[in-house]
Amino acid sequence: MKHLLSTKDLSRDEAVQILDLAEDMAQAGTREVKKLPALRGRTVVNLFFEDSTRTKISFEAAAKRLSADVINFTAKGSSVSKGESLKDTAQTLAAIGADGVVIRHHSSGAPRVLAQSGWIDAGVVNAGDGTHEHPTQGLLDAFTMRKRLHGDASRGRALDGVTVTIVGDILHSRVARSNVWLLETLGAEVTLVAPATLLPVGVDTWPVAVGYDLDAAVAAKPDVLMMLRIQSERMNAAFFPTAREYSRQWGFDDERLARLPAASLVMHPGPMNRGLEISSGAADSARSTIIEQVANGVSIRMAVLYLLLAGGAA
């Protein structure tokens, strides 16, 4: 694997391989000395055109645990904010000698443009592009589900028959897209729940079931309920009348939590709007995997960086 741009590109074997490798990485993280020498002497650039503290530190931690040198390049306050193009930035990084580029960009497809451009010969990891994909988030979510459902017997397994309901702003969510493609590849059954305004046109062609009613989705007893963040800028663009109405219809509150089976997982990619799409009671419940997701994110990103930069199979 040269780049990781989309979960849609991943075969089932590749996806399971990444999840298994992340298990190894997680295990190494339990040792006293967490650092592995795998990427010693390699340089990973975190190229962030969009603010994201969580994803950036997660990739930084992952690269450092593999002993890579990490350069953080953020657009704000850099030449990028003065109008430098993606091309010039990429050529600069190539000249510096980057082996891997972790890119977050506000434009859908920017990582693919970078990977195909010939401007730089580094492995490219998509860390979130516009409203397209966020593949490492999809992988860490799958990893989290597998770990909770199969525990120590996770290795080699996919998510066949697991029912996953994703709720919220599907239209603008790169997390939802990466999850939908990956979960389908891994054999899970996905249901999307949102107001019709926040579902993309053509969603009927996706490998999912679609519903508008969160209460019906909860009553269906999904194995996993994944809540998505509602961006504040959607509030004023007629996607729904008010935050209060959204929260009442599609917020996962304590009352809905009480109706969800005790074994069901509650997930959220963060950052959360507590009280809007998820209540504190739900976010902090024993069924919530939100903190595990963050921890697993480092393992997944280690696995991906290792596969891309240390070359080939684990």
Binding site: K8, S85, L86, K87, H105, S107, S108, G109, A110, R112, V113, Q116, S117, D129, G130, T131, H132, E133, L171, R174, R177, P200, V201, G202, V203, D204, T205, W206
Partner: protein
């Protein structure tokens, strides 16, 4: 001015004969003529593009009247209508006269400026339509192309007012609110790629409104770059009701589909966007049955830096003058939908009639202006930058095999292309 004896050309009606050119017009015979061997070549009347962006004044890094004229000639065109989204905008007599004068000075093609409908293309106030109509540029086509005249009242007034000067409004049909931030056709693929959708209804709703307005005020409407099957239905309905509407389709909407967006290669980013295969088929059929009257290129040059970036940061548009005839052949001639007589109609006679351009009513008849092109439909080649003669190379066809080759173009009796090569110094009399 050269005298030509064109030998053995196949005319649009399928007959094969010699013809002669002297003093800029077709004649019965001529002596001491330069012989052009047209054995196996298709003769077509000089092509007329009702929709070209020449970019001058203001955007000379993309194209100039000279470079755009050369691109046009190399594609078999002898006349182009230059869109008004220049800087300053072509909304005054001064600007349109300048554009026309540049075209005349270079001589590769007849350049007819299009005037802006509204001042600065801003959709607020009518521009000085009468002054442009009465200027030396004799503007007859008015368009805010690139932007839609979205205000219904302003559109009504524009349709009425241009009647005064025998003009036509060429509308860029795009409901602006429905297409805020739009990047590509809205459908399953835009949802997957995470690119903001440009829904078909945003085009169809404006066309439906405009044909009803045109009917109400008894005015003539031209619809630019029709791109959807639904738009075809609306126009077909309007024509059946006797509404005075004409419509154009671009070569790229006849050949390419939205699938090309899936690699985020911004050469395929265009406005209106590439649509579904069903739309392409409907557009081809509409061109064949006359619902769509003409093919126009929407030649939209952009410098490299406007395309070497992420998709949503890239400019809309693709160059099309040099490839138009080949693409039309591939899309509708080789598929059996149009004959070369039809091609002559949709790429020359009809656009000239819509734009009120004289000299294209009776091609190849004695006394008519000698505007024609000789085309080899049997040639095939991989389209490359060497086929492009304007300033910009944002062609969606680079690397694609296309049929046909323009062998010669003659504009008003002056050869602009000979043996497939642009004539560098025009021998004008």
């Amino acid at each position: 001015m050269t005298t030509f004896h064109v030998k053995g050309a196949t005319l649009p009606d399928g007959t094969r004969r010699d013809f002669f050119v002297e003093n800029g017009v077709f004649v019965d015979s001529a002596s001491n003529a330069t012989v052009l061997d047209a054995d196996g070549l298709q003769a077509l009347p000089g092509l007329v593009d009702l929709h070209t962006h020449l970019r001058e004044p203001g955007f000379e890094q993309s194209e100039t009247v000279l470079t755009g004229s050369r691109a046009a000639a190399s594609g078999g065109f002898t006349a182009v209508f230059a869109m008004a989204n220049t800087s300053p905008v072509s909304d005054t007599a001064g600007v349109v006269e300048q554009v026309k004068a540049l075209g005349d000075a270079h001589g590769y093609v007849t350049v007819r400026p299009i005037g802006a409908v509204t001042v600065g293309l801003e959709g607020q106030r009518l521009s000085e339509i009468g002054a442009m109509a009465q200027s030396r540029a004799q503007v007859r086509v008015f368009s805010d192309d690139g932007k839609c005249v979205s205000d219904a009242l302003l559109m009504r007034r524009a349709l009425e007012y241009v009647k005064t000067f025998g003009g036509v409004i060429a509308q860029h049909s795009q409901e602006p609110r429905l297409t805020e931030g739009a990047q590509m056709n809205e459908g399953a693929l835009s949802g997957e790629l995470g690119l903001a959708g440009w829904p078909a209804v945003a085009e169809e709703a404006i066309i439906a409104r405009d044909v009803l307005l045109a009917q109400h005020v008894g005015a003539r409407l031209h619809v630019c770059h029709v791109s959807t099957a639904g738009s075809v239905d609306v126009i077909r309905w309007a024509k059946a009701r006797g509404i005075d509407v004409t419509a154009e389709v671009t070569p790229h909407h006849l050949l390419l589909t939205e699938q090309l967006a899936s690699g985020y290669d911004s050469r395929f980013k265009v406005n209106p966007p590439l649509r579904r295969d069903d739309d392409v088929q409907a557009l081809r059929e509409a061109l064949a049955d006359g619902t769509i009257d003409i093919v126009a290129t929407d030649h939209a040059p952009h410098p490299l830096e406007a395309k070497e970036c992420a998709w949503d940061e890239a400019a809309f548009g693709m160059v099309g003058l040099e490839s138009a005839l080949s693409v039309v052949q591939a899309a509708v001639v080789d598929t059996g939908l149009l004959s070369f007589a039809d091609v002559a109609r949709v790429l020359s006679g009809a656009p000239a009639r819509i734009g009120l351009l004289d000299g294209y009513g009776a091609p190849f008849t004695v006394g008519a202006p000698a505007n024609f092109t000789l085309y080899d439909p049997a040639a095939r080649s991989v389209f490359g930058v060497e086929h492009l003669h304007g300033k910009s190379v944002n062609s969606p066809y680079l690397g694609r095999e296309l049929p046909g080759r323009v062998v010669a173009t003659v504009h008003g009796g002056v050869a602009t292309v000979l043996e497939g090569l642009l004539v560098e110094e025009l021998a004008r009399g």
